[in-house]
């Protein structure tokens, strides 16, 4: 069986994210890293591979993004993926999540995976929808926010929290599964794996290589447009206490609560 894992390069959590006032897109300058939610998807793939219930021939990391995004793929292979694919093309810039999902699905189509895994959300776009978009294009069954996944020959048994409690769902493969961050504790890459990451096969694809129709991606292919951007309504800044002397800190908290009659 073949597993493809969708990954994304995002601004590092320590970098303040902002919107470019000209393009009205997220400013993608500054330090980048692999989307932390994606590490759970890679770990889930590795656990299937190492679990022994099914035979996994390879785990392939797939990303779409600017040239710099190869670093997210290096991180993904250092965490265990066998090879990676980088979809990159100037014509993709400005794609919204619908266009991105279409483009990624075209790349996946050519790989014919038995299982597609991805994280529950990206740290920057916060769309939560990529798995279901990709699944509909691929005509595969799909489930998001999965926190437990047992694999057997030809099928998965998944658990997730939905509106009324925990659901258990059986899914026939091939399938697209987006995993919640409670599914596992991702491993750290070994130094050897980090050093070896650059040697693993990385294929770069442009629009034509993946059979992507240019008018369905990029700014022109996106079906939404941002009319304007504004700051959120102002909220009075809260008081902040840095704990240095805990007795003093606790005293301050108690008097704050007492002033508001919350200890009555």
């Amino acid at each position: 069986m073949k597993i493809c894992v969708l990954v994304k390069e995002v601004p590092d959590a320590a970098v303040e994210k902002r919107i470019d006032s000209q393009s009205l897109r997220i400013d993608r300058g500054g330090e980048k890293t692999l989307n932390p939610f994606d590490t759970h998807a890679i770990e889930a793939a590795m656990q299937v591979k190492e679990g022994g219930a099914v035979d996994v021939e390879e785990v392939v990391a797939v990303t779409m993004g600017p040239e710099s995004a190869f670093r997210a793929l290096h991180k993904a292979v250092s965490l265990g993926a066998d090879r990676s694919i980088h979809l990159t093309d100037d014509a993709l810039a400005g794609s919204d999540c619908a266009a991105t999902g279409y483009a990624l699905a075209k790349v996946l189509e050519s790989e014919s995976p038995d299982l597609v895994l991805l994280g529950q959300q990206s740290d920057d776009g916060e769309c939560y929808t990529m798995g279901a978009i990709v699944a509909d294009h691929l005509k595969m069954p799909s489930l998001t926010q999965v926190i437990k996944m047992d694999v057997a020959e030809g099928k998965l048994t998944c658990e997730r929290q939905a509106e009324y409690g925990y659901d258990t769902v059986e899914i026939e493969l091939p399938a697209v599964i987006s995993v919640g961050d409670a599914i596992n504790e991702p491993r750290y890459p070994s130094l050897k794996a980090i050093m070896g990451a650059k040697k693993k096969q990385l294929d770069t694809k442009a629009l034509g290589d993946a059979g992507i129709e240019a008018d369905r991606v990029g700014e022109g292919g996106s079906r939404t447009s941002v009319l304007g951007i504004s700051p959120p309504p102002p909220k009075a800044a809260g008081e902040i206490i840095e704990d240095e002397d805990t007795n003093e800190t606790v005293e301050k908290i108690v008097s704050w609560l007492d002033e508001r009659k919350l200890l009555a």
Binding site: T129, A135, S142, D167, E170, R223, L227, L262
Partner: protein, 325 residues
Amino acid sequence: MSGILTYALHYEGAFNKNSLGAVSEGAKLAKEIGGEAGVVVVGGDDLTDELCQSLGSHGATKVYRAKAPEGLAQPVVDVMAKVISDEGYSYALFGGGLLGFEIGAGLTARLNAGVTMEVTEVKARDGKLVAVRPILQDSAIVDVDYVSEPGIIIGRLNAFEASADGAGAADVVDVDVLLEEHSTKAKMVRRGEQRGADVNIEDAKTLVAGGRGLGKAEGFDLCEQLAGALGGTVAATRAVVDAGWYPYAAQIGQTGKTVAPKLYLAAGISGAIQHKVGMQSSENIVAINKDPNAPIFEFSDLGVVGDLNKILPKLTEAVKAKKGG
């Protein structure tokens, strides 16, 4: 054609609160831009005429009832795609919740539509809809326009309130939809399992909520002791409930409960949007977290940057002393 189509999720004979919010919002917007206020419901014999007609009290004019498995997204995508294509709806609108995200995303792909998620407000303008969405941890707000029809709008949890000022019974139409092959390949084995003890957090005036920052399940002992001293109840984030540290019934946020106590004290909670939407109406928010960059400090009234293992026990003692004295 025009009009707005929504989806109403149901379970054990009642519609979901967020779905009813979407139905009400859809009905209000349909009045402004014209067209039907349609609702799709999917299920079995539990979808009685009476239950479906009751959506009229929230403003729905037409209810499309389809026989298909309930609780999974892809069969609903098939039904809604058919209704939108046959009846020419201009927008599909969803309340906050897991299924709304999945169905909305599936429709986006199926109909090559534009989509906006985490929407907090929808404005009618020149016969079209504009979706308002906070982005980047709510640090900016964008107005999003749709360049083609249909447009897909996925609301944030609690964004749309259910109103009951509709005209009366809605028209109920049965629709026959042949499901796509892939939509039949997922099967619900067990639905709505409750894990852990049944606790009531919605009526508490004081809540002490614990998150991943507690470090381990035993960390909740500290929260329980403080809640005991304050005369309150303990609540939890989704991450720690999924990890099995605390009962599901105590969970706040997306797919959990929405609370608005007088005092909300968050211990080791970073303040992700999914949690924020479930507690932001609390009167007084106190947050204790060791990470000074935690988003919760952006919306707390009192933020304490420090180690909760040191602070909580001493705070419990100090509260006891104050109350006793």
